[in-house]
């Protein structure tokens, strides 16, 4: 059971980072392989804030999210928006280019080594409930993941902004005609997606580690979540992320000789069975 819980927790973490990608890739149809860059940025902001300036962890995490959101908004305005109409190949090439530049920048700024993070004492240790060992930090991740999932679901499904976003995505021309500032909606959406990645990156340092190769190492995982979940579906991303987290942790725990092979197999099989993803509509 502990393995399953650990799997759920790492799935939640995966969800936190990847849900932003699900929004940009799924809703805005933009293949953003540079998504992990925002998560890495969030991670570094959190590490520097807590480690060098002694900012409390709970304050550093939102700070990281804000920094990533700001970076996302700036990059969207200056670079990414040029590629909305471009072919998939162009988007892939461009965003991989961004990943390489960001990795070099991170190495230049922080060196190639792993960054340590010190968690507040109330998040360390574990409790045993009904025979299941539950790490407090992992429980924190699960709660955070559920909160974000619920919040996003409400934002996109219920609020006026969500309605505008869906309109802008489905028929940009008509949305513009109705007086919706489509460009602004896209910037905000992109910033939210990047901010969530920053948030995930910040709380993920403990589990995933943080070094300059982060955006490339976990890129495939993020993409798997989106592809398996079905682009643009919050619930699908959540389910896919948890499924992959559990498969990954369980696979590494019970059959270590197979390792990460399991995840890729699960993904390929899922995509053969349902090419549009679990909850995809396209």
């Amino acid at each position: 059971m502990t393995v399953v819980f650990d799997g759920i927790a790492s799935g939640m973490l995966l969800f936190l980072i990847a849900v932003g990608l699900s929004v940009t890739l799924g809703l805005m149809n933009f293949v953003n392989l540079a998504h992990g860059v925002f998560a890495m940025l969030g991670g570094y902001v959190c590490v520097v804030a807590t480690g060098r300036y002694g900012v409390p962890f709970l304050l550093a995490v939102p700070l990281a999210a804000l920094a990533a959101a700001a970076a996302g908004a700036v990059l969207e305005r200056t670079l990414f928006r040029r590629l909305y109409g471009a072919t998939q190949l162009d988007q892939v090439l461009f965003t991989i280019g961004v990943v390489f530049v960001a990795m070099a920048a991170a190495r230049w700024g922080f060196g190639p080594q792993q960054q340590p993070i010190r968690l507040p004492s109330w998040l360390q240790g574990q409790v045993t409930i009904a025979g299941v060992d539950i790490g407090l930090y992992r429980a924190f991740l699960v709660v955070l993941g559920l909160l974000v999932a619920f919040g996003l679901h409400r934002t996109i499904g219920v609020t006026r902004f969500g309605a505008r976003l869906r309109a802008a995505v489905d028929k940009p021309a008509v949305a513009r005609g109705m007086g919706i500032d489509v460009d602004r909606v896209f910037v905000i959406t992109f910033a939210i997606g990047s901010g969530l990645a920053g948030l995930g990156g910040a709380v993920g340092v403990e589990l995933l580690g943080l070094d300059p190769s982060f955006p490339l190492r976990y890129l495939v995982y993020f993409l798997i979540v989106v592809a398996v979940g079905g682009s643009g579906s919050i619930g699908g991303s959540l389910l896919a992320a948890v499924l992959i987290g559990v498969c990954d942790v369980a696979g590494k725990y019970w059959v270590p000789q197979v390792g990460a092979f399991i995840i890729y197999t699960v993904m390929v099989v899922m995509l053969i069975v349902r090419p549009q993803g679990l909850f995809g509509t396209r």
Partner: protein, 350 residues
């Protein structure tokens, strides 16, 4: 294969005619495009010149020839068939391990036999994966290509008994090519061997892309809705191109194994797939010479820049990629296009 597919490409009222009338269609432009031209000969003099001018760098030049074959294979898949893949190293690695295992475990060290074996295994891998890859579109297809690549990487990583895992596959002994030329310490034989294989594969690819089959691939790229309407089986053609690309990649991998007598796990790595994509778009996808030029420029740049500053080589790759997408969509070959057109116009004018 399908004599009518070129009709759909040629301009003029004949193309729209409902009744097939091959005799009235002017195939001359297509024939002209298929004929060899003099700049091509100049390109092929480069490896000969390099042999004399850079005798110290034959190992690097061999790498260039091998990477050029790999880029050529991706060009067939991406440039001509239009399948975006980030897992092309899978076939490179399959070929590399096939040739390596044949020599190391079975003791069959004949290079040409190894190439054929690797080509067959890679083609088989292409055949097995083709339906999976072609099933989805867009992101799903991209993810399946990545997934297949990563699955093979993990498999090779874990099957240490067979592949040596991260330590690599060792103990590969090569017998002389055709029993005549043995691989020497200075890499002379390896260089000539790689260049000759490249030339042969290039000529075959050249023949294929100018054949009706190749033209139908290009037409599919230009107008995906029209080709099925003309009665062309889209999936069969894409699958054929995929298998062909896989075979070429397998041969490239086998060459790397045979010339270095070692297989490292990163023949299957994601970075290799991304790198070859970069090489191809740098040179210009959808043209055979784009693959060659891209490889020469990329490997040379890598050699020079990484020599100056190995840390930030990656940043240069990234900047080049961003620059290509924003400013030079068709790569180096696209940049020399206007000159070529100028040349062609001069010739046709009376």
């Amino acid at each position: 294969m399908d004599s009518r597919s070129p009709d759909s490409l040629s301009p003029g009222p004949d193309a729209a005619a409902a009744t097939p009338a091959p005799a009235t269609v002017d195939l001359a432009p297509l024939r002209r495009a298929a004929r060899p031209r003099w700049p091509e000969l100049a390109v092929w003099l480069l490896p000969v010149a390099a042999w004399f001018l850079l005798p110290e760098d034959l190992a690097l030049l061999t790498q260039i020839a091998i990477m050029a074959i790999f880029a050529l294979s991706l060009d067939l898949v991406l440039g001509y068939a239009g399948i975006v893949t980030l897992g092309h190293a899978a076939f490179f690695g399959v070929g590399a391990y096939a040739a390596g295992l044949l020599a190391a475990k079975l003791g069959i060290g004949d290079p040409l036999l190894g190439l054929l074996f690797a080509a067959a295994v890679a083609a088989l891998a292409g055949l097995v994966t083709a339906p999976t890859v072609l099933r989805g579109t867009g992101l799903t297809r991209l993810m399946v290509t990545i997934g297949i690549g990563m699955m093979l990487f993990e498999a090779a990583n874990k099957a240490t008994d067979l592949t040596g895992g991260v330590d690599g596959l060792q103990g590969i002994e090569m017998t002389p090519i055709l029993g005549l030329w043995s691989f020497d310490l200075w890499g002379k034989t390896a260089y000539v061997y790689a260049v000759v294989v490249l030339l042969v594969l290039f000529l075959i690819a050249r023949r294929i892309v100018h054949s009706p089959f190749g033209l139908s691939l290009r037409a599919l790229h230009m107008n995906p809705a029209r080709m099925p309407a003309l009665g062309v089986s889209v999936d069969a053609r894409l699958a054929a191109a995929w298998v062909l690309g896989a075979t070429y990649a397998g041969i490239a991998g086998a060459l790397l194994t045979q010339t270095t007598q070692f297989v490292s796990i990163d023949v299957l790595g994601f970075e290799r797939s991304a790198e070859i994509l970069l090489i191809l778009v740098l040179g210009g996808a959808g043209r055979l010479y784009g693959a060659l030029i891209g490889t020469i420029v990329f490997v040379t740049l890598h050699h020079v820049l990484a020599g100056i500053d190995p840390e930030y080589w990656q940043m240069w790759i990234g900047l080049v990629l961003i620059g290509i997408v924003l400013f030079a969509r068709n790569g180096i070959m696209g940049a020399i296009d206007p000159f070529e057109r100028l040349l062609a116009r001069k010739k046709t004018e009376p």
